[in-house]
């Protein structure tokens, strides 16, 4: 657009201001992890690593804080399970909607997208209510105590899985759509079996998309709060542990330290996923 130079500078200023707005709270949360004070606020009392490494109260560092570490551990393994399940089902969905023709395909495709527009809180309570109803029925009719249908890790996994499948399906389907079907035909013509074709031609093509779908699912699971909130039992993931501490105990810079670790961790994962996606752009 041909604008006067002055307007262009105002525009650039606006863009810069916007990016400052984007990073300001992250920088603020990060910097105070290193403040030698009991509170995450000014004044600045000097630099310290205590909020990461100090082994004793009152400045118990993150790496000695058992409850936060426990939360981190829970988040990690829940994330891996959820991401693996979502990628598996997402891959099936991608093949289903890209390759197959069946009745009501368009309507079912819309249904597949719907979980993205259901608020997370609603997904959480609906799965909580449904699982509890099933557990109560099993108890009344058969005298079975199905503890995994009560709030706890299995329900958290199901709750996050319920909307993450949509995301993984869309990512993997987008890649599958670009696949040149004649490659498969060539393999079949050369005498490869269908399974072998799938394993040596089609799936390797999909791997970058599956990988980045896995990373995205893991990150979203790791951060998820709205759905998880209603489904946690005694083993809560990190976000819930942090939230409890923020609201009940009042925050100390150990939460800033945790935020720093989270930012570094998810930033790194996201970067890896971006790099893994890169060959896709050239293809």
């Amino acid at each position: 657009m041909q604008g006067s130079a002055g307007l262009m500078w105002i525009y650039r200023g606006y863009v810069v201001a916007f990016f400052l707005y984007l990073v300001a709270p992250l920088v603020a949360a990060g910097v105070f992890a290193f403040n030698d004070s009991m509170f995450p606020s000014l004044p600045w009392n000097g630099f310290t690593w205590d909020w990461f490494f100090s082994p004793n109260e009152p400045k118990l560092g993150l790496f000695h804080d058992d409850r936060l570490l426990q939360g981190l551990g829970n988040s990690l393994y829940i994330g891996v399970i959820v991401a693996a399940l979502s990628v598996a089902v997402g891959t099936c969905n991608a093949f289903l909607f890209v390759r197959k023709d069946f009745r009501f395909k368009n309507a079912l495709y819309v249904l597949m997208v719907v979980p993205l527009v259901i608020p997370g809180v609603i997904l959480g309570i609906s799965i909580l209510v449904f699982a509890s109803t099933l557990a109560n029925l099993a108890d009344q009719w058969f005298g079975l105590f199905l503890t995994w249908l009560r709030p706890g890790v299995p329900l958290v996994v199901l709750g996050q899985f319920s909307f993450l499948v949509t995301i993984t399906s869309l990512v993997i389907a987008a890649r599958l759509q670009k696949f040149d079907i004649s490659l498969e035909e060539a393999a079949l013509n050369l005498g490869a079996s269908r399974v072998r074709t799938l394993a040596t031609v089609t799936l390797p093509f999909l791997v970058p998309a599956m990988f980045s779908a896995f990373v995205v699912a893991f990150l979203v699971s790791f951060e998820n709060f709205n759905t998880t909130l209603f489904l946690v039992g005694s083993d809560s993931p990190l976000t819930i542990t942090m939230y409890d501490r923020m609201v009940k105990a009042g925050s100390t810079p150990v939460l800033n330290a945790t935020s720093v670790v989270l930012m570094l961790g998810s930033g790194m994962l996201a970067l890896i996923s971006v790099l893994a996606q890169r060959p896709k752009k050239q293809a």
Partner: protein
């Protein structure tokens, strides 16, 4: 490939889809619908009726909370669009090839960090003993620290922050597909800037605008953390009411009625948005 094999693979691929959608999406929604129309009258004794909904409508606190959530979500969506559009335009059309990718990535950075950390960052900035307030005191602009948390303005700033990326990303991808020749043609035919914007850019960007608005609105109306942390215990956000009914009062019946109301409301807005602009869910939201 024989027809049987095709059929078998169709069934094998369809089963996980059907289990997922059926057991985790559809049945649970019916489940809260069912719980919302019953009322506990004794131990394991229930009566069915619309009492929970009637309570919801006749109790001004609940009703007003939903209305407040609704209008604030609309405001946040509008702000996100107004603030985000120039940024999306800059990334898609003005920035050079190299910086374009970098800017786009920078836009995504906050997305990698959880809502919780982001809201926490705002708290560190805005609280009475926070960075902004203390800095202003130090510079002598104000006399004593000011509490900037726990008001509507802050909640709106925080919510716009949380959702704006979901507005910018679809906008950038739509605008990137636009041929600059369209703009030149518009100017050559004597269109003013406003005309070109209104008659060429906006219609072209419509799918992105709709996708962004739908996701933004839905996320805002359904958000829990940002309003609670930045708005305090009295932020009067609707999801907070749902949480109170479910967890604090253990009144699942009325909590379900609240949940259904929120779902009906957000679905209606999404549907109306798609209707008014002639888009479909599969082509807007699923495109990313």
């Amino acid at each position: 490939m024989s027809r049987d094999a095709g059929k078998l693979s169709l069934i094998l691929l369809f089963t996980p889809f059907a289990l997922w959608i059926g057991l985790l999406i559809i049945l649970p929604q019916f489940g809260i619908g069912y719980v919302s129309i019953r009322e506990k009258v004794g131990i394991n004794q229930y009566e069915y009726g619309l009492k929970n909904y009637i309570d919801f409508i006749t109790e001004p606190v609940y009703r007003n909370t939903l209305l407040r959530t609704a209008w604030m979500s609309i405001l946040v969506t509008a702000l996100a669009l107004v603030i985000g559009f120039p940024i999306a335009w800059y990334i898609a059309k003005i920035a050079r090839e190299r910086s374009r990718a970098a800017l786009f990535l920078m836009c995504l950075i906050p997305l990698w960090v959880s809502d919780l950390v982001r809201a926490y960052g705002w708290i560190v900035l805005l609280r009475e003993t926070g960075v902004i307030s203390m800095t202003l005191v130090k510079w002598g602009i104000i006399n004593q620290p000011v509490e900037m948390l726990y008001n509507d303005m802050t909640v709106i700033i925080g919510l716009v922050y949380t959702v704006i990326l979901f507005m910018i990303v679809p906008l950038v991808s739509t605008l990137q597909g636009m041929d600059d020749a369209l703009l030149e043609a518009g100017y050559n035919l004597g269109g003013s800037r406003v005309t070109v914007f209104r008659r060429i850019i906006v219609p072209y960007a419509m799918p992105g605008i709709v996708a962004g608005c739908i996701i933004t609105f839905m996320l805002t109306a359904g958000s829990y953390l940002t309003p609670i942390l930045l708005g305090g215990k009295n932020s009067s956000w609707f999801t907070e009411q749902i949480y109170n009914q479910f967890i604090t009062r253990y009144n699942w019946e009325s909590g379900s009625a609240f949940g259904v109301s929120l779902l009906v409301f957000t679905s209606f807005v999404v549907w109306a948005g798609l209707r008014l602009t002639g888009q479909s869910l599969a082509t807007t939201v699923a495109k990313e």
